[in-house]
Amino acid sequence: MDWWITLSDAEWTAVQLSLRVATVAMLCSLPPALLAAMVLARGRFWGKSVLNGLVHMPLVLPPVVTGFVLLLLFGRRGPIGAFLAENFGIVFSFRWTGAALACAVMGFPLMVRSIRLSIEAVDRKLEDAAATLGAGPAWVFMTVTLPLILPGIVAGMILSFAKAMGEFGATITFVSNIPGETQTLSVAIYAFTQVPGGDAGAMRLAVISVIISLAALMLSEIFAAVAAKRSVAA
């Protein structure tokens, strides 16, 4: 276990940064993903297929293109980026927040898909029953729909987290490769492979990345099993 102790400060920073970026990306994309999933699963409106296509765009576009579009929109000179920087002081370009944004966008379709499927699986008759018992629409969602789709939400969050841990193309295009600020695990591994004698460092980080991914996967399995046990249809 020598390699563990010899993990350099820069490498540790990359691991911690990756965890932070992935966690923030996952948490911040949850509310809009839930909304988008709800609208796509239940809504009936003109332009629904357009919205569906838009949500799935990051899944089919080359990540580099997604990163480039983010750079155009959220860069310092970009229309959204300039607006946010001026009015709220939120800057994305070449910051870790930009890495989180890139990861959130890339993981968004995965999260929406997972939540949407679980919403479509909810027996709406249960919601009707809740309404006859006196629960208004908001309460029906909170007390019946939300608990029933929890497995899908958890699965979507894990998928989004895993995607964020591995995200490379959009991140490096949008926020570049700045050690300590935007150099996530994947970007750091890539950087190691680009210098002579970097193999050992790349290997150490690769092992860590495997461990984190496996842990996330096992955690999601446990959650799914617990949730499935809780909500066997009656």
Binding site: A130, A131, L133, G134, G136, A233
Partner: protein, 358 residues
């Protein structure tokens, strides 16, 4: 209570156009499958918004499309027991029971909770998950859940349809207790004559989305209109009576209906308690002379009122026996052999075991 319902609604090629009023404690919407009963009860509940409709409960306008009044489902305080239990799988039985109670303002005392749990016999199930309950237990919990939301009106859509005979028999007594012990008016949808006969005070016969007949249970269920709406095998007459005496050595109960004394399998009801007996036409035999040496315990003297038209080689004969109307189904051959005609005096024979409704 008084309930006034009026609804017109199109679902594809099917049209519901029904209006009825009821002041009974249990009103049955009775008709074949696909007659529009469930749509009608969904309109009452607010789950289905009719094209034109009006619902008034005790003078309180719940919905009136002409005046653009529509109380949303969750503010109607109408309990609803569905065909399938629809228990929340993520909550325990206790959680399910508490659900409506909480939304109704948590005003119900613990004693009320205990009373309903006791009445439905679900006290030992409180900490179980719905998925671990039997079908009958689930339906009882569903009834309890609806009751604990303190409804002004209880809607039941064939709550026994998804259960087998044994489960039905398990739940029916609880529904009778519910009718007799709570003051909540009930609208009960069913296509089963036996259930309606046992529970309902008022019957609304629905066919093709329209009201075919409505009125007192006993009167309606012996009418040709109702007979037409019911399953042919189930057609029969309804007798209103009171418990006269119990014969516990033979496990029998004697019920007085008009001037007839009917021996039925033992009922667990006090003396003087009013009961309804449904006698299926196919269970009634006819004889021109009083039979001797026969095992059947009920032999009623009467006269033939009329005969129905021939249907599949058999006739329904209406008889008047001691103030009751009884239906008997016989073949065309028997009719010729006995030379049946209106006014002829006759004996109707009913086996006691055929009157087992529990």
């Amino acid at each position: 209570m008084s309930l006034e319902v009026e609804a017109r609604h199109r679902i594809g090629a099917f049209t519901i156009d029904a209006a009825f009023t009821s002041d009974g404690s249990v009103t049955a919407l009775f008709g074949r499958s696909g007659s529009g009963k469930t749509s009608l009860i969904n309109i009452i509940a607010g789950l289905l918004r009719p094209d034109v409709g009006r619902i008034v409960l005790d003078g309180d306008v719940i919905a009136d499309s002409r005046k653009r009044i529509f109380t949303p489902i969750h503010r109607r305080r109408f309990g609803y027991v569905f065909q399938e239990p629809r228990l929340f799988p993520h909550l325990s039985v206790r959680g399910n029971l508490a659900f409506g109670r909480w939304f109704s303002g948590a005003g119900k005392s613990a004693s009320e909770f205990g009373r309903i749990v006791e009445m439905l016999g679900i006290g030992h199930l409180l900490d179980r998950r719905p998925s671990t309950l039997s079908g009958g237990e689930r339906q009882r919990v569903a009834v309890g859940r609806a009751l604990l939301a303190s409804p002004r009106l209880l809607l039941m859509d064939e709550p026994l349809a998804a259960l087998d005979e044994a489960r039905k028999a398990e739940i029916l007594p609880y529904l009778e207790r519910l009718r007799d012990e709570t003051r909540i008016p009930i609208v009960y949808v069913s296509h089963s004559v036996a259930e309606v006969a046992r529970l309902a005070e008022r019957v609304i016969v629905i066919e093709n989305g329209r009201v075919l007949a409505s009125g007192d249970a006993a009167a309606i269920l012996s009418q040709p209109a109702a007979v037409h709406a019911m399953d042919w095998r189930e057609a029969g007459a309804l007798l209103e009576g009171v418990v006269e005496s119990h014969d516990s050595t033979h496990n029998l109960t004697i019920v007085r209906a008009g001037e007839c004394l009917v021996r039925v399998p033992q009922l667990f009801a006090p003396l003087g308690h009013s009961v309804r007996l449904h006698i299926a036409a196919r269970d009634v035999m006819l004889a021109t002379a009083r039979p001797e040496g026969i095992s059947a315990l009920n032999v009623f003297e009467g006269t033939v009122i009329d005969l129905s038209p021939d249907e599949k080689g058999s006739f329904d004969v209406r008889l008047r026996c001691g103030g009751n109307v009884i239906l008997a189904r016989i073949t065309a051959l028997s009719r010729e052999a006995l030379e049946l005609a209106p006014g002829k005096s006759i004996h109707a024979i009913v086996k006691t075991v055929a009157l087992n409704h529990t």
